[in-house]
Subunit: 90 residues, 4 copies
């Protein structure tokens, strides 16, 4: 699946970036430069979460909202509220 | 409507809090204390956004996803992705 | 003081913006539009906190770090770490 | 150095966590669970940035503020304002 491959590619990039940060720490790079690299990784992770949420809304959410089970629908909607609230915090 | 009254009450509280911060600045309060009060207001605003999103998912989103118009559904889902991405940033 | 006036002006703008959001809620505006306005207020508050921190670093922090009291210096540095950690969360 | 080893250990943990997220995506895990794991990694990265900033304030910043070069002092203070502003956004 195309979306999944894009997400995995981005996760691998973030992992490589994170290993780069480890090297910076080991080589005693300038603290502020290290913090900036970590912030860049966090921006990349925000983007990845957004892509995953987009996929989720266009599949699971539609299935749940069009489905017959009100408890399942409520559960799925509540989870989205939940990750939104968490996203505001991290 | 009960939810709306709760949201308005929280917005009024945040507004009072913000006026309190203005007084702190005018009276030359300690900078760090001012920053902490601003951060508390931002937490309160996160909570308010979450409540509004919850209401939105349980009304507009359900209507759009169960509705007949695929363009409208897509629009509503895309908006949610959008505010999620923005929430990760503010 | 010039900086202080700028901060107060920005706080008043944010307060007016917040009252605008109350009106939107009262008039039953579209949820997503309300959330976006709240996010804009949060961005403005981020900017205000940053201005206050800048002023703090250029006055209190310099005084504490150049001063004679190691406990005071440690306290001031620790507070900055603290609001940085909180800023990452709100 | 003790702090550096702590930071490297935390970075390695985050890297392992990120590989776990890749596996979740490959094995088609539930989207919301994946997003929650990414948010947990971001919290861990916030903590790491905070530790690095703490170290920076207690070494480079003190040296710059107590040093003779006003341009260097200004540069170091400005960088802190800068990463604080960015932290509010990621």
């Amino acid at each position: 699946m195309k979306d999944r491959e894009d997400v995995i590619r981005r996760l691998k990039t973030a992992e490589g970036h994170l290993r780069g940060v480890q090297r910076m720490v080991e080589e005693d790079a300038y603290c502020i430069d290290i913090i900036r690299q970590i912030q860049a990784i966090q921006s990349a992770l925000n983007k990845i979460s957004t892509l995953i949420l987009e996929k989720h809304l266009n599949s699971c959410l539609i299935a749940a909202v069009q489905g017959e089970d009100p408890a399942e629908r409520e559960r799925v909607l509540h989870e989205i509220v939940d990750v939104f609230e968490a996203a505001s915090r991290v």
